[in-house]
């Protein structure tokens, strides 16, 4: 029993000692790969992912049918289109989970995550500024402990910001769940924020991604059976979690910018109040 309901009711603490509305530790870095256009590394608890963005650039030679079908879907018809195509490639390392499992290129779950990410980012990045080009996002999963899709979305957002690709706003994601299973008709079920692997296995959960500070949901994935009455609470908690994640990612980007200003790498710029109008 991963989440002993009796204990939870008494202490309101989850298996890893968090309360219902607490995120796990999020640690993020950008510019981890000097040679890439944009790169990031993100940890959400023990889920660790790396992301590298290449582009926007001229699309290379068209890949085989399998590769194109897996990654594409986002920006439409590739090289000749008026918008950049967002191609996402996810590699899940064999050592990333507890049981060593080899996932091939054609793994259905990976493909689904690829197309979710590709569609989400294609809607948020300003792809119309880069006609006939392609944005390659390659993600590597180093360690899995639940909320994998959310971590992938957050890492991809950070890497895209680092690559200087214009976007409407940050896309941040996190998961939400409910304290009791679908079958247990528990009226007092609490929504939970940021599920870890154990909780994800046993409890109903969903992944939600929102656009910046707003409540606009840009991606919502639910793969488990959940009672409709609990959905609203889960969604509300999830959206709130996304805002917290946004703050954390924003701090990471700002810290990098401040470092660059202090080192004199970039100018401090001219703001609206810096000088009078001519």
């Amino acid at each position: 029993m991963p989440l002993d309901t009796s204990t939870y009711n008494l202490a309101l603490l989850r298996v890893d000692g968090r309360r219902w509305n607490e995120l796990r530790r999020i640690h993020a870095q950008i510019r981890t790969q000097a040679a890439a256009d944009g790169s990031s590394y993100l940890e959400m608890g023990h889920t660790k992912v790396m992301c590298v963005v290449t582009g926007p650039s001229e699309p290379g030679p068209r890949r085989g049918v399998a590769g194109a079908g897996g990654g594409g879907g986002g920006g439409g018809a590739g090289g000749q289109s008026k918008e950049a195509e967002v191609v996402v490639n996810i590699v899940i390392a064999g050592f990333s989970s507890v049981d060593r499992k080899r996932r091939g290129r054609g793994d259905k779950r990976t493909l689904e995550m690829q197309s979710t990410l590709s569609n989400t980012l294609a809607a948020t990045l300003h792809t119309h500024l880069f006609p006939h080009s392609q944005i390659n996002i390659s993600l590597h999963v180093l360690s899995q402990d639940g909320s994998l899709l959310a971590a992938l979305i957050n890492a991809a957002t950070l890497a895209c910001v680092d690559a200087g690709i214009p976007m409407t706003d940050y896309v941040t994601a996190c998961t939400a769940g409910s304290t009791s299973t679908y079958a247990a008709n528990d009226e007092g079920a609490d929504p939970l924020l940021d599920l870890n692997h154990q909780e994800e296995q046993e409890l109903p959960g969903l992944t939600v991604a929102t656009l910046g500070d707003s409540d606009k949901v840009v991606a919502l994935v639910c793969e488990s059976r959940v009672q409709i009455s609990r959905l609203e609470g889960m969604l509300a908690v999830g959206v709130d979690g996304c805002k917290q994640v946004r703050e954390i990612l924003d701090q990471v980007i700002k810290a990098q910018g401040q470092k660059m200003i202090l080192e004199g790498t970039v100018d401090k710029g001219t703001g609206l109040n810096d000088m009078d109008l001519d």
Binding site: E22, S57, G164, G212, A255, Q258, G271
Partner: protein, 354 residues
């Protein structure tokens, strides 16, 4: 006696001081974890709140509202959400204002070509009447056959024969130095090499660093090409800093000047007398001292970029002098050309100190 576990009392302590410079983003939520109040502990708060630093007021991240005032015009790196007049940033970068135009220059981005830029590029594709050149931009640039100096004397018309032997001028993988002549609406660039300064690159070493577009790297400056004297027995070296961040460092060859002397020709018809030698892919012999100095110079350029410095003529020349001094102090003498890691940091610190 049975143990009773009491439910925690939810309290809302004031949010911890936002110490951004700490760069550790561990504050997962406001009502959890230990709240360290530096003031109450009697410890000095190490750094002032960076949000109040006037240096950082122009730093924006995607989705930041810049101004709701409709009097401003939006430029690059900004957008206006539908049904509003709010100019919003779409990049992480620095606000720059030119009169009424507001734009955001990114912290880092790919090179965006502008007319007149000196670029170094690599030929990736040969087509019927043009080459496609990688200049590190969003799209490949194109170099039409009509925009190069054809060999064989007078400024002649390009013929079908030239089209057939297009590969004899530039083939795939060749490096060229060129100028951006024209831009397309979608950001694609057209290059030309109609000058003796431009053309195929030989006798040297290529380095790709980040270019104009944000952050460290090559900056647009008055002089992008110069010749400098090599130390430690090295000969003269040519340095070409492409605005796109591609750098070419080569041995200096006085070929053109020599040819002119032989033929006793004026400077007016110099460009008409380009021989086929310009399109040769054969390197001249380079002595090992010059090779070593070329490598050292490349080490300087990469060290500058790694440590967030601008790369321009002044920095490279000073950096090279500094690197030579550092090499003299080391055990192996001038043979020591390593400028990575700590030595690179040392080098840039010395340059910044001046």
């Amino acid at each position: 006696m049975p143990i009773t576990i009491l439910p925690p009392k939810f309290s809302h302590p004031p949010p911890p001081p936002q110490d951004i410079s700490d760069s550790d983003s561990d504050l997962s939520s406001d009502d959890g974890g230990a709240h360290l109040d530096f003031a109450s502990l009697g410890l000095p708060n190490r750094k002032p709140n960076p949000a109040n630093n006037p240096l950082f007021t122009n730093l924006v991240t995607p989705g930041t509202l810049i101004t709701p005032d409709p009097q401003w015009m939006r430029g690059h790196g900004t957008y206006i959400p539908p049904h509003t007049t709010h100019i919003t940033s779409s990049l992480a970068g620095i606000i720059t204002r030119t009169n009424k135009l507001i734009s955001v220059s990114p912290l880092r981005a790919r090179y965006t070509p502008e007319v007149g830029d000196l670029v170094v590029g690599r030929i990736v594709e040969v087509q019927a009447k043009r080459w496609r050149v990688d200049v590190g931009s969003v799209q490949l640039a194109s170099l039409p056959l009509s925009a190069i100096n054809l060999p064989g004397g007078i400024l002649r018309k390009r013929t079908e024969t030239d089209e057939l032997q297009i590969r004899t001028f530039f083939a795939e993988g060749d490096l060229v130095v060129a100028e951006v002549q024209q831009l397309f609406q979608d950001g694609g660039a057209v290059l030309h090499t109609r000058s003796l300064k431009y053309g195929k690159l030989r006798n040297g070493l290529f380095a790709a660093v980040s270019g104009v577009g944000g952050g460290s790297g090559v900056v647009r400056s008055r002089r992008q090409v110069w010749t400098m004297e090599g130390q430690n027995g090295g000969g003269k070296m040519d340095v070409i800093l492409g605005v796109n961040g591609y750098v070419w460092i080569s041995k200096h060859v006085e070929q053109v000047a020599k040819e002119l002397e032989q033929k006793h020709m004026g400077i007016t018809n110099m460009e008409e007398n380009v021989s086929a030698g310009v399109y040769s892919s054969q390197n001249d012999p380079i002595d090992s001292d010059t090779m070593r100095e070329i490598t050292r110079l490349r080490g300087v350029v990469t060290a500058l970029v790694e440590n967030g410095c601008r790369v321009d003529e002044d920095m490279v020349i000073r950096g090279y002098a500094e690197a030579c001094e550092m090499a003299m102090l080391s055990e192996t003498g001038p043979e020591d050309i390593y400028l990575g890691g700590q030595r690179g940091e040392e080098l840039t610190r010395a340059l910044r100190g001046n």
